[in-house]
Subunit: 304 residues, 2 copies
């Protein structure tokens, strides 16, 4: 199986209590690809970059199993740029700068070889752009997952609702689930969101783990306790990349396998925050991943 991933290839400046990095390769598509290629290839990227994007980084992504045919290059443009500073408690962050650059006019065009892909991960983008990707697919994919954020609930709710009707899995955090549904109880929120379209809902709760809702089934995944979180940037995208990479690799949509996919996604997110940017993803091997997944299983095992 292959996975199609839509999102940003970007440059970030990140300041945390543990240090700072400038102009590192980042963006949702980068994190998704870095995580998903540990499980499946090809991961077909759909994104846009300027002439400034690092060729060596792209070549490395390709070696890892990314297909770059869907990455549009605007030679005289600049890549999307974001700068942010995390608070001392690492719970919140302030955006210092955002420059859309080539992302401002991003109109994804799917190469012919991408159009029959069965697993689709729509990273957080303008909902209308997410829809435009679905418009170009031929046939019905096995699973379409979408990430979004409260900004689109505030500014493009109708477009967001339109794309929600076309997807299978929504991945949001608890605050976003509450805003989208207008419900405080996550149980009630899930019921309302499922009525909006996605039959599977995954609610990320950061240091408190993740919840998986599918029909009448519910699963609560813990978070690993980490001594230090160096850089939380991209944790959500890495979770989504690990989850969808695992699902595409195993091609099994049973609830039991969805649960495993949530744990694999959680494990990948627990790695990525250990260092800045995607650094930790680059040195990771499958044995380390499986070992960490086992730690998740041990953490929540109880025999009644």
């Amino acid at each position: 199986m292959s996975l199609l991933a839509v999102g940003t290839l970007a440059y970030d400046d990140v300041y945390t209590p543990y240090g700072e990095v400038k102009m590192i390769e980042a963006g949702s598509c980068t994190y998704i690809a870095m995580a998903a290629t540990h499980f499946v290839e090809p991961v077909q990227l759909v994104s846009v970059i300027g002439g400034d994007f690092n060729d060596d980084f792209l070549a490395d992504l390709e070696r890892r199993g990314a297909d770059l045919e869907g990455v549009e290059v605007i030679p005289d443009g600049k890549s999307f740029y974001w700068a942010g500073r995390y608070h001392d408690d690492m719970m919140g962050r302030d955006t210092l700068d955002t420059q859309l650059n080539v992302l401002a006019d991003f109109a994804p065009k799917l190469p012919a070889s991408y159009r029959k892909t069965d697993y689709i991960m729509l990273g957080n983008l303008t909902p209308a752009v997410q829809s435009s990707v679905l418009d170009q697919l031929e046939g019905q994919p096995k699973l379409i997952a979408l990430d979004t954020m409260n900004f689109w609930m505030d500014h493009a709710l109708e477009d967001l609702k339109a794309v929600l009707r076309r997807i299978d899995v929504l991945i949001v955090n608890d605050e976003e689930a509450r805003q989208l549904s207008g419900e405080l109880s996550l149980l009630k929120a899930a019921a309302k969101i499922v009525e909006m379209g996605p039959k599977i809902l995954i609610i990320k709760k950061g240091e408190h783990g993740a919840l998986l809702f599918s029909e009448d089934n519910l699963f609560s995944a813990p978070a690993l306790l980490l001594p230090t979180v160096v850089d939380p940037t991209g944790a959500g995208d890495t979770f989504a990349g690990g989850l969808m990479g695992y699902l595409a690799a195993t091609d099994d949509l049973s609830f039991e396998n969805l649960k495993r996919a949530v744990i694999y996604g959680s494990a990948m997110a627990s790695f990525v925050v250990e260092d800045f940017g995607t650094r930790r993803m680059q040195t990771l091997d499958r044995e380390q991943i499986d070992h960490r997944v086992q730690r998740f299983a041990d953490l929540m095992h109880v025999a009644l």
Copy 2:
């Protein structure tokens, strides 16, 4: 086995978005006893009340398996009173009134029949009062658990540290664990707290479940998702009562059984918040409890 429980027998006024109750029987000792008597008897109560406390309520507690010999009655005094209003999101609350009344001079005296009890639950009280209970024990109990709060960390830290050196299990919430240890990471916080005395640490995270630390073992228990939380008052005490009641009943301090006890405590807490005060505890039977414990197990079950 029997369980000794120290804490308050009180009257509460509680206002939540779902309604209000006035002058209902409450307090840490009440919640602990109401939960623990579902598992073990006798639950030996150590507390103080005024002549105003409801005799019928006490008689009901006794029928459930509470031993009231250690409850001091000050006939012309008034029982401890607390009034609070929960915020619309139920996450926070404001204290409207606190009247210590007979609690101001509470100096617990253990009846002779209590002094060799093996399981001890010290509810949240002045740390020096908690210590004075331990002073009266004869021999070494099998397990001493203690609940405390940030108020004592601010105002009686040395007394708190003194009693922590004498106990086995500390039960606090995540905010309290961070304050007590000065560590943001709960993993680092746990390591520091264990150095203070308690070899077992339980961190309550409310709607996010609970963490159990014991030596190098770690367990993450989920919270049940509830459609509605009517009244969160006493959830922590009920958790502690269920946990310690289960441990006293099973008399097994293996890590596997500690994990089960955390789940039983969590189940009891998930019931108590469904109605005001201890109402839900009063109608509960063991079949309902075991059924809910199974729901917790299902919620976190994954097969790799």
